[in-house]
Symmetry: C2
């Protein structure tokens, strides 16, 4: 794409970025997306430093093109993760869930590109001031942990476009070329796609989880647990138990107890659809198949171009 | 717009429709939007039959171009409202909040066009089967009463485009030409704009309410009262009281008592920013001025075209 700052920044062919997600995005998915011309990303949020190192090494063996690591900035092992990232000179780092300010110099020490994930204009401005190279603007639709403002992608990208000069990568609710083009109309120069890539052969999500996304209908994901950190959950017995608890006014402590530990791993990696926590995006309802990661890139890109051509015809 | 089915259906110049809203959209706003080349709409949701008749008559005096009436299908006076609409041969009727099936033959008896407002693919299909001429697909971002699925405009329009053949009018989160183009990318052929038209000179909203929209920031509207019918409220002492009640698990009865009666009129028409109910869209955060209705139409249309031209340059 001529003049597209996201392609230039990452040295990629298509401005389609695979989101780094807990339990589902290891080296297989990341390298497949990168080899297809997008930007693949290892999700370090569910990896201790030694496992992260293994995934980085394997990803480098599987592709010689650029890939990224997503690094949530809240882990007790954060410094060890950073050390591994620096040791292997990962070219692109997406930070999230915290402020990049304290880490950016360290992360850029070996020439890496640093992108921060934000859910509001205020945080986008902070990321720009901190020296980030781009921002991911993630709307209410996204799976996983979301901003408390509940601003949707349609409103958020337009608002951030009015606020910062940095390249904007839109995230939340994007699985199709139509949705990608919509985000470009709003001012984005790239898209970050999560849920659609979970439903690929290369994602390490359990097949039960993949199938449950394919079967999901409108209204089957809801933003829950707002008192202890909002997260979008796919409807299952666990999510319904959370809903019931929230409706009767459960406290933060009760929600923490209900959540317990390792539920995301149990659901997303081990396929326990009853007791597991299934974090996934609202766009699940329009995903109807499990395909290869390269088809996802190809299909989004083709529909993006076809839609733009058809818009030009109508207007 | 050549080949645009929404322009053809309504006999209008631009596929920009002003939402019919309670307390804020009478004949002044409707005729101003219609005269500017869009489709203006009287919101019958806050009008008894005699007041509705007065607005229809005045709207006809103020414009000789097509305008619409929005008719929520739950009023005790519904039949009297319908009688007035039929008597004056209102050319376009937007039904909402109910099923159009029982009323469509009556409403179409004098050749009117009937459009139904939906918040899911399932309801869009029902509207198509009932014989509606188009659907308004309204996302989570919208002000007023919203679908329980919480599907955002970015996901909803794409989903409905995959489901029905009817022309789709996107609503919820649209105040700019960028957002209009985004909705066209998703498959819409028109947009329905509410909040942006509330901040016009012609809207009958109280000036205090208009000013509070202009001052709103991201996160200042939230979908509340889900137990008794979700409604998006602008943050004020009343909305905060609702939030506090919901967080402690207030029952439907408690919420009904807290809401009481006439709060929407008190807030939106009479300007009581403390005790009034202020129903408004999430896009409030990017609206920064109060202008004329014709400027809204002009600005959205110009930005829509400029954005499309700039997209073509980048790609």
């Amino acid at each position: 794409m001529t003049g597209n700052r996201v392609c230039t920044l990452f040295k990629i062919e298509y401005p389609i970025i695979q989101a780094g997600m807990v339990w589902v995005s290891g080296w297989r998915l990341a390298s497949a997306v990168t080899n297809a011309g997008g930007l693949g990303m290892i999700g370090a949020g569910s990896m201790r430093a030694d496992l992260l190192e293994e995934h980085i090494v394997k990803c480098k063996q599987a592709t010689n093109k650029p890939f990224a690591v997503n690094l949530p900035l809240f882990f007790s092992e954060l410094q060890q993760q950073i050390d591994v990232i620096l040791k292997h000179e990962v070219p692109i780092i997406f930070t999230s869930a915290g402020s990049p300010k304290a880490y950016i110099n360290q992360l850029k020490a070996k020439g890496s590109t640093v992108v921060h994930v934000v859910s509001s204009s205020k945080f986008a401005l902070k990321a720009q001031d901190a020296g980030c190279d781009a921002v991911v603007a993630e709307g209410f639709e996204a799976g996983g942990h979301n901003g408390k403002e509940e601003t949707t992608t349609l409103v958020l990208i337009n608002a951030i476009k009015n606020t910062v000069q940095l390249p904007i990568i839109a995230a939340g609710g994007i699985a199709t070329g139509r949705q990608m083009l919509a985000c470009f109309a709003l001012g984005a120069e790239g898209v970050q796609v999560g849920t659609r890539f979970v439903c690929t052969h290369e994602a390490s999500a359990h097949i039960n989880f993949k199938n449950s996304i394919v079967e999901a209908e409108e209204g089957d994901t809801l933003l829950q647990m707002k008192k202890i950190g909002a997260v979008r959950l796919l409807r299952n017995p666990f999510a319904l138990a959370v809903k019931e608890a929230e409706e009767r006014g459960a406290t933060s402590d009760e929600l923490h107890t209900l959540l317990g530990k390792y539920r995301a791993k149990k659901g997303m990696l081990e396929g326990d659809l009853k007791d597991g926590e299934l974090e996934i995006g609202q766009v699940s309802s329009i995903i109807k198949d499990i395909v290869s990661a390269s088809s996802v890139v190809k299909n989004i890109w083709e529909e993006f171009n076809q839609t733009l051509a058809s818009l030009n015809k109508v207007i």
